[in-house]
């Protein structure tokens, strides 16, 4: 028997039986669609989490980064002495180094006067530490006492800062310290912070009087253009104290992602959500296939009496499962696309629908349907022609 007939005929029968009862087909498709949307949303939220967690380091402009070994992630850093960063200047390949200060602090909404926590970045205005044009342009202005830049992509709970600035209302408080918002930039929110503020290192110390310039949170190292990053990293890690990690750019991103994926329970929660979505879908598809076999058992028994082999019906069941996967995935994909856009506009999290994500979810759904098919084939034994006639 050639391969085309081997799969084509049972698949065709499966298809004809599926489309015969439209109502049931719609119900079955909805079951798969439900699982599909659930998985898409879980995956979307998870990826949004990772992407936004790493949104700050993404814009950092450096070749190597120093961070304390006890810092689990950038949003909850452990300080280390600035001298540790300065020691790296001893390596001839290092061109310049800059410290970055990080802190969470409540920001008072200019309009409603309510306070909400955001992330404050303090940097040396002489450096080009962030690869964001608005920040580079405003560097000089940030030298003024008590001036900050506000992240336009912060959540709306901080107030319509752009409109307020245009209206001249630019004075508010961070951690009960009076500051002036002199401009805007765009970075994006993360799960750790609903908004961002950037200011000079000196202004940072004024907002956080308990901090001092010698205790830094992140060290940014820029190398000479011809230097090998890997080699310098190896040299520096043998020279520096053990309490610091020295990361390349990619390693820093990975470190941040790993924190959210493994150390924070959030990665697990979304993984669990994905699995639960698949289990629910599995049960639904199994029920559909099981009922389908039960309803068709007389027909299958007839075909068996005509000389069809048992394996033919197994292929029919798997073909049905395959069609259900496709039929549920397509509307599920489109529906999720809409929800992604909705989520992006409502919760300000980046939720891109990438090809690889679509493929991953499709493979999940396909394996879910195939597993359901695998579980349902035992019901085929009910189609025994001898008991039927």
């Amino acid at each position: 028997m050639n391969l085309v007939a081997w799969i084509y005929f049972p698949a065709r029968l499966a298809w004809r039986q599926l489309i015969f009862d439209r109502t049931k087909l719609v119900a079955a498709t909805c079951g798969v669609l439900f699982a599909c949307v659930l998985v898409f949303m879980q995956q979307g939220f998870r990826d949004a989490l990772y992407a936004s967690a790493a949104s700050a380091p993404v814009k950092l402009n450096g070749d190597l980064f120093l961070i304390h070994k006890q810092s689990e992630a950038m949003w909850r850093p452990v300080h280390f002495p600035r001298s540790e960063l300065m020691r790296t200047l001893g390596n001839p390949a290092v061109a310049e180094v800059y410290p970055l200060y990080l802190g969470l602090a409540p920001f008072k909404n200019i309009e409603t006067r309510t306070k909400r926590t955001l992330m404050v970045y303090g940097f040396d205005p002489d450096s080009v530490i962030f690869d964001i044009e608005d920040i580079i342009n405003m560097r000089t202005a940030l030298r003024l006492k008590d001036t900050v830049l506000f992240d336009e992509y912060s959540r709306p709970e901080f107030g319509p800062v752009r409109q307020l600035l245009e209206a001249g209302r630019n004075v508010t408080e961070i951690k009960d310290y009076k500051i002036t918002v002199i401009g805007l930039f765009r970075l994006g929110v993360s799960f750790a912070a609903d908004g961002n503020i950037i200011t000079s290192d000196l202004n940072f110390m004024r907002i956080f009087p308990d901090r001092n310039l010698d205790a830094i949170d992140l060290g940014v190292i820029r190398l000479h253009p011809d230097a090998s990053i890997k080699q310098v990293q190896a040299e520096l890690s043998s020279q520096l104290n053990e309490f610091v990690n020295i990361f390349t750019y990619d390693e820093l991103l990975q470190y941040e992602k790993d924190y959210w994926a493994n150390i924070a329970p959030i990665g697990f929660i979304f993984g669990f959500g994905t699995v639960m979505g698949l289990v629910v879908g599995l049960v639904i598809v199994y029920q559909i296939l099981f009922t389908d076999i039960t309803n068709h058992r007389h027909e299958f028994a007839t075909l068996k009496a005509m000389g069809y082999e048992h394996s033919y019906f197994i292929r029919v069941v798997f073909a049905s499962a395959f069609f259900l996967a496709i039929l549920g995935f397509i509307p599920g994909y489109l529906f999720s696309l809409g929800l992604y856009h909705l989520a992006e506009s409502q919760i300000f999290m980046p939720m891109p629908m990438t090809f690889s994500k679509a493929m991953t979810v499709f493979l999940f759904i396909l394996s879910m349907c195939m597993t359901a098919g695998f579980l349902a084939i035992h019901k085929l034994k009910a189609a025994n022609p001898a008991d039927m006639f």
Binding site: A5, E299, T302, M306, H310, A386, F389
Partner: protein, 225 residues
């Protein structure tokens, strides 16, 4: 004439131990090529059981059942499948696939044979449906056809593969007198044309006239009439 069905001392019983219920006792019957044999008998006499054993649907363990030169006693699944493929089965109910049209239902028999193209299969199935008088209803689904028409579709389905044997289990039971007679007349005509052997189980005495031979099964034992 050669023997297509040769049954010797077939014993069959349901259940086991103290609950053993013998159904067929020492059944011996030979059927030649091209013969039309009607088997009658009261309900519960084991007619259907006998038919399912001949058709390779039920496994028997004692005696000898040679069908188309294959021994079906203690046979493997492959042997049974091979025998089934050479047999056309007509059931008490039409047992058509309700999601398929008449044409597609008849084609299902031919899909097991790989020699044909799709077009050849459909042509052959259409031809067969014309032969049973349903040339106008090729694309009707079973629920759009009457019971008599459905039974004729199932006759077409049984015969389209040019089987060597047709087994029919009370094919007229669910039909009125006229359509029942019509159905078996068509069956007889087509079988005679192609020298097909027919073993037909019935207790419908209105159709005895088509038979070459009538045997009676009573209490699991064969009586020639």
């Amino acid at each position: 004439m050669s023997l297509v069905i040769d049954v010797k001392n077939l014993n069959f019983s349901f259940g086991s131990g103290a609950l053993t219920q013998p159904v067929l006792k020492n059944v011996t019957i030979s059927i030649h090529k091209g013969e039309i044999v009607l088997m009658t008998g009261p309900s519960g006499s084991g007619k259907t059981t006998f038919l399912t054993i001949i058709g390779g649907l039920r496994q028997a363990f004692h005696g000898s059942v040679m069908v188309l030169d294959q021994q079906l006693i203690n046979s493997s699944e492959q042997v049974k499948v091979k025998v089934r493929q050479q047999i056309g089965y007509i059931f008490q109910q039409h047992n058509l696939l309700k999601s398929l049209t008449a044409l597609q239902n008849v084609s299902m028999t031919l899909e097991m044979q790989n020699r044909m193209t799709e077009q050849q299969r459909l042509d052959r199935a259409a031809e067969m449906l014309k032969a049973v008088g349903l040339g106008e209803r090729l694309n009707y689904k079973p629920d759009q056809l009457s019971a008599g028409q459905c039974q004729r579709v199932s006759i077409a389905r049984a015969l389209v593969g040019q089987p060597k044997i047709v087994l029919a289990d009370e094919p007229t039971a669910s039909l009125d007198k006229q359509s029942g007679h019509e159905a078996v007349t068509i069956l007889e005509r087509l079988a005679k044309e192609s020298q097909t052997t027919i073993l037909l189980v019935t207790h419908d005495y209105r159709i005895l006239d088509i038979a070459d031979r009538v045997v009676e099964l009573e209490d699991g034992m064969i009586k020639e009439r």
